[in-house]
Symmetry: D2
Subunit: 207 residues, 4 copies
Amino acid sequence: MDPVSKLIELFSEFPGIGPRQARRFAYFVLTRPNSFIEEFTKNIGAAKKSLRTCSSCQRFFTSSSQMKLCSTCSDESREKNLLMIVARDSDFEAVEKSGVYRGLYFVLGGSVPVLEKEPEKRVRLAELKSRLGSAKHDSAESPAPSEIILSMSATPDGEHTGDVVRNFLEKNAGGVKISVLGKGLSTGTELEYSDTETLRNALKNRG
Amino acid sequence: MDPVSKLIELFSEFPGIGPRQARRFAYFVLTRPNSFIEEFTKNIGAAKKSLRTCSSCQRFFTSSSQMKLCSTCSDESREKNLLMIVARDSDFEAVEKSGVYRGLYFVLGGSVPVLEKEPEKRVRLAELKSRLGSAKHDSAESPAPSEIILSMSATPDGEHTGDVVRNFLEKNAGGVKISVLGKGLSTGTELEYSDTETLRNALKNRG
Amino acid sequence: MDPVSKLIELFSEFPGIGPRQARRFAYFVLTRPNSFIEEFTKNIGAAKKSLRTCSSCQRFFTSSSQMKLCSTCSDESREKNLLMIVARDSDFEAVEKSGVYRGLYFVLGGSVPVLEKEPEKRVRLAELKSRLGSAKHDSAESPAPSEIILSMSATPDGEHTGDVVRNFLEKNAGGVKISVLGKGLSTGTELEYSDTETLRNALKNRG
Amino acid sequence: MDPVSKLIELFSEFPGIGPRQARRFAYFVLTRPNSFIEEFTKNIGAAKKSLRTCSSCQRFFTSSSQMKLCSTCSDESREKNLLMIVARDSDFEAVEKSGVYRGLYFVLGGSVPVLEKEPEKRVRLAELKSRLGSAKHDSAESPAPSEIILSMSATPDGEHTGDVVRNFLEKNAGGVKISVLGKGLSTGTELEYSDTETLRNALKNRG
């Protein structure tokens, strides 16, 4: 395959990109000055080299040094008794950006589709076990949580992922309190158009 | 104005209908057989005649007899200690259709926009006072509630309406417990795209 | 069926209206003051009574007198040698509103779907024959056209309707020139996203 | 700026990409295996190296050899008396893909916005002059056209670009016939929703 076609194919793998836009991207890149392309490829390489996986929360972070802990996990001011489990780095970022949570995190690295037979291939259950195992010694890297918050999307995959992790935790983190995010009306929800599940939860969680 | 133009103008007042669709509607009606038009106008008249306002919950219902209570308020099997306050008939219908609630209702007849100076012109506060006043004698028509559930949309107008009604209740229904629908993730909410308010509520209402 | 349910059913027959909006319409009408409902039903009746079908172009028009010709067909300043055939009253209105055409019209009253076996049930072919038959005597009501313009949408149904009418005209209006609207780029068309047919026509009709 | 932030910034320059999607792209790339990233950057470089500008039509093409003419301009079977001027490579591709045109092309490299003072900075007028100057000697590379087809989008910028090129051609290609793509109904256009300009053109170009 010629390099342009190959490039279009590679762009087609980008999230949310169809063949037409992949072609546009290839044209865009190829018609930039050489300086753009050099900077682009150089930064991809440098960014990849600087990419680390946090040994505690497993999220990606970038660092020019050889740090093992990300800035959140190494932040002494976080509430170390709370551990929020999220599916993806982007979920971590959304919660951090909101500023409503000051505890620690664990990033599963994905979610478990409803019919998946081997959840351990989709999410970091081994790393989670290891995180909680170390926590028994309550080290700086892995402080022992008193509550684990399952923080998944209210979607079928999110619910299923929550169930899988809860089952896993009940076997592997006995004694720690497990909670899930509250369900109910979210901002902008109109009562008239709410589904039964949301109404049921909103009513149950009224207060 | 000729009757066709006038008809188009009247259709333009229908909810969500612009001038183009109003014109289509007028053409549609006028090109129906006479039998359609007769049935249409006849049923509008008959429906209007059969329309009642429930003397307890204030919602519209239709009846050929002279009943004062709607089928819900006159249903002996409802939980009479719960009174849910909703903004509109359509909210009542949405909650009833979900089947998650078995108590009684009160329909405000609208919501209170954030800058409204005279909320009593928008919502049935006088009727609400009367409903709760009668409730002191705990009649069949107006049983005394032990809990009032403010059941508004999670929108600015809905929140404001809830505040207005809560203030009103605190002055006029002292002693009755007041609750609001729970906030949190609603069905389909993805964590990554949740706003701060929803995340804050989901975290607060975790369990 | 109770009159409200019946009214919702009748509103569901309106063009583009689903059950939910039909219900909204019924509520809207029923909660208007009596004066609105009276005016509404009164104007439907009056408009229906004033509705005429033009004996020449067949379009609907309203008149309090017993006129047989619509204002366009009775307008002496129109170019009587041009006859544009359109599918619907709304097409007539769109062309008139544009002001680009000063000839006469004939309204088919519909279009002929591609698989329709009996086109004469869908469009006014008998009336068209009658219009052109009278035209042989070149009366004020039916002047003889020197050109008939088939003015259909560039959609499958429009194309098919054009074919049906052209076949009919070739048998019934021998000798009169028949033309069709030009095809090509329409306002706003981007070359990059044009389909083959449009490009072919745009190239063929270049000038 | 750290390499990840820089990479996000570079992705933000891609056509149609906002900051949120740029961030997703960066994450996507960084979490691919090294092999993906190597292939990606390698193919960008190789594609850029293989990119040529056709010395006749000015469009981009890729070739591993040192060819000066693209495959279309060097195709002996094309109709060399027709020269279609298009704004962009993507327009060339759309017309070629349709298969309705068998002549040659010239790619302007952009369009001229309505208020642009210096059109020669936006489109390849110098190269066009050179193409037509060479054409006087009717070489294999630049055969002399007998007709130049201005093939622009039916948008304000497209119309303006057409005007600019026409003025330029009238001064620099005297004697050659200049045509523009036909206007009228394009595929899918409904008569009822057509704008005045389209109706005017459809009527003018009827046939």
